[in-house]
Structures are given as C-alpha cells and as structure tokens.
C-alpha cells in the first residue's frame, strides 16, 4: 500500500457512488492486547461483504491521517485513522491505517464484486 493522496482517493471513491458495492470495514487492536498488557482491552469489529449503496463519499485529511464517510440512504459508513491505500486486482479500493510497527488498526475496502470469503 502507499500513503494516501487525498485527491487520488477522492477520485476513486467517486467512481463507487450510486452503485451496488461490497464493503469490508474493520478495526482491531489485536487478539493479544489484554494478554500483553492487563490494562488494555481487546477491541475489534469487522464486517465483510456487506452489500450497500451510497450517494455521497468524502475523504477528509487531519494531519497525517484521513477519515472517510460514505452517506447511504438511511445511514452512514465511517472510518477514522486511514493512512494508506491501494487498488487490489485493479477494481477493489483498499484503505487502511497502520501503527508505527506496520500493524493494521483500521481498514475500509470497497468493491463492485465480493471480497474473497
């Protein structure tokens, strides 16, 4: 993946507007967080291949990190802490946020075809 350039990613987000798309949305701090530090909490959530449609999509820069909001007819999809992006198999937009050690903390992925499951 490469560091997010806002204009490039905004341009790609626009291409998914008003289409049926599949979403992978995830956040995690690892399965060992509370094992390695008893004061930490294991927190994580993911949804893979949720089929949605959104009519607005916007990426916002905040220092070195980015947020993305997708507006659906009756709700929102939101991700904070994104740092990197790539196009996977030329059709799937992958965005993710990594910590200093390169570990994934958050990801938002959009595709017109399902992600492998």
């Amino acid at each position: 993946m490469k560091p997010i350039v806002k204009a490039e990613v905004q341009n790609l987000l626009n291409q998914f507007i008003n289409k049926d798309v599949y979403i992978h949305l995830e956040t995690t701090n690892g399965a060992y967080a509370s094992h390695l530090n008893e004061n930490a909490y294991n927190v994580g959530a993911y949804i893979r291949n949720a089929k949605v449609s959104f009519d607005q999509a916007k990426i916002v820069q905040d220092g070195n990190i980015f947020r993305v909001g997708l507006k659906m007819e009756i709700g929102w999809i939101y991700a904070e802490g994104l740092t990197d992006w790539t196009m996977h198999e030329e059709t799937k937009l992958l965005m993710a946020g990594h910590d200093r050690e390169g570990r994934l903390m958050v990801s938002l992925q959009i595709s017109e075809t399902p992600f492998s499951y």
């Binding site: 094992h35 790539t86 996977h88 994934l104 990801s107």
Partner: protein, 220 residues
C-alpha cells in the same frame, strides 16, 4: 517412541512459535509429523515491517510462509480451510468430527493442540477444544495421547506444573528458521530480540527455548 505426531493449531506460525522445537525433536528420531493448520490467519494485523501485505493479499502470503516453515521443519502440512477469528462460532461437533476423520486416517500416537480456555486467542481455545473432543469421540483403545499447550501461567485459578517441559535449546536454530519463514508475522518478535535490553532478550529466549504441555486426562 512415537509412531506419528499430529499437531493441531489454528494459525500459520502457531506451530513455529509453539512447538517447532518439539516437532524437530520428533523428526530427529525419524517420527513423522503432520501439522493440521486450521486457518490462513486471514485477519492478522501484522502486515510485515515495513508493511508489504494488505488485508486481501495476506492469506496467500501467509499460506506460502506456512508451506516454507513446514519445509524448514520437515513436516507434512494439511490446511483445514476454516477462517481466522471464526472458529469459536463454528459448530464444535462438526469441527470435532472433521478432525476425528483425519485422525482415524493418520492414526497418530500423539496429538498436540492448545489447552482449551487457557490458550489466550479464541481460535486457540476453540480448535483445542474441538481437537480434544475429536480424540474423546474415538474408541478409548484407539485414542492417541494428547498434549495440550496452555499459554496462561495459571490453570483454573492456580499455577500448575506442566507434565511435559521440553528444553529445545538444541533445536533453537531450526525453530528460529521456521519462525523467520513467517516473514509477515515474525518482525515483532525480532524487534524484541534486537533490543539493547539484555533482560528482554533473555526473556524472549527463555520463552521460546522451552515448550511445555499438559497431558490431557480423559475421564472415561
């Protein structure tokens, strides 16, 4: 001497961190070893340092790392096809029946797996429980011995001495080679080993120079 050893863990790299030295000891004796790997670690958050994997490329990358690690350990590999982080939601009986079928085919004399409820990661606990159940479902006369690996100090509220404590110092080079085959996952550990802090280095070595297990006791 064991006839055949089957190791059952859920993730690529569980075998290298947890039992590579023990498996190498068995291979040195000429005992066949088969690793049943539950998932491809699809939901892992380590993407390499610096990052070279992403959520979509990680499964294939980890699959190749797993194949390379098993080559380094000279063991047979079978991939079970479950998905990372989901094992505790699968039907326990179905997973146990799946494992039992494989065990009846291989006929191992020893099975190594995680100690249910004391293996920290939900996948470890779930697959360990299914493996122990798979052996329980077998005719008592045909059952292999089961070594269960706990990753917590305390078992059911008290510190219990492990039945099997393997010093794998002599196998450490092979073990390290297997760990390093998991390139996308090994860097946090190597980060610890590269620290200036001698206590940390010793703690890491101590942790990985010993592989310990409980012998599972069946009531019937």
């Amino acid at each position: 001497m064991e006839k055949h050893v089957v190791v059952i863990y859920p993730h690529p790299d569980d075998e290298s961190f947890g039992a590579a030295g023990t498996m190498t000891q068995f291979r040195e004796q000429g005992v066949p070893v088969t690793y049943l790997c539950g998932t491809l670690g699809e939901m892992g958050r380590n993407m390499g340092t610096p990052t070279f994997a992403n959520r979509e490329t990680l499964p294939e990358i980890r699959k190749q790392e797993l194949i390379d690690a098993c080559k380094a350990l000279d063991i047979e590999l079978r991939m079970l096809g479950y998905r990372d982080k989901t094992l505790e939601y699968e039907d326990r009986g179905e997973v146990a029946a799946h494992l039992k079928g494989i065990l009846q085919e291989i006929k191992p004399s020893l099975v190594i797996t995680h100690y249910p409820d004391h293996a920290v990661h939900p996948d470890h606990n779930a697959l360990g429980a299914a493996a122990i159940e798979a052996v329980r479902l077998m005719d008592p006369a045909d059952r292999p011995t089961v070594w269960a690996q706990a990753l917590t100090e305390e078992i059911d509220g008290k510190v219990r001495e492990r039945d099997i404590v393997n010093d794998v110092t002599a196998q450490f080079d092979t073990k390290l080679q297997a760990i390093l085959a998991h390139k996308s996952q090994a860097s946090p550990m190597l980060g610890l080993m590269n620290t200036e802090d001698k206590e940390t280095i010793e703690a890491v070595k101590d942790r990985f120079n010993t592989e310990s297990f409980f012998i599972w006791k069946y009531d019937d």
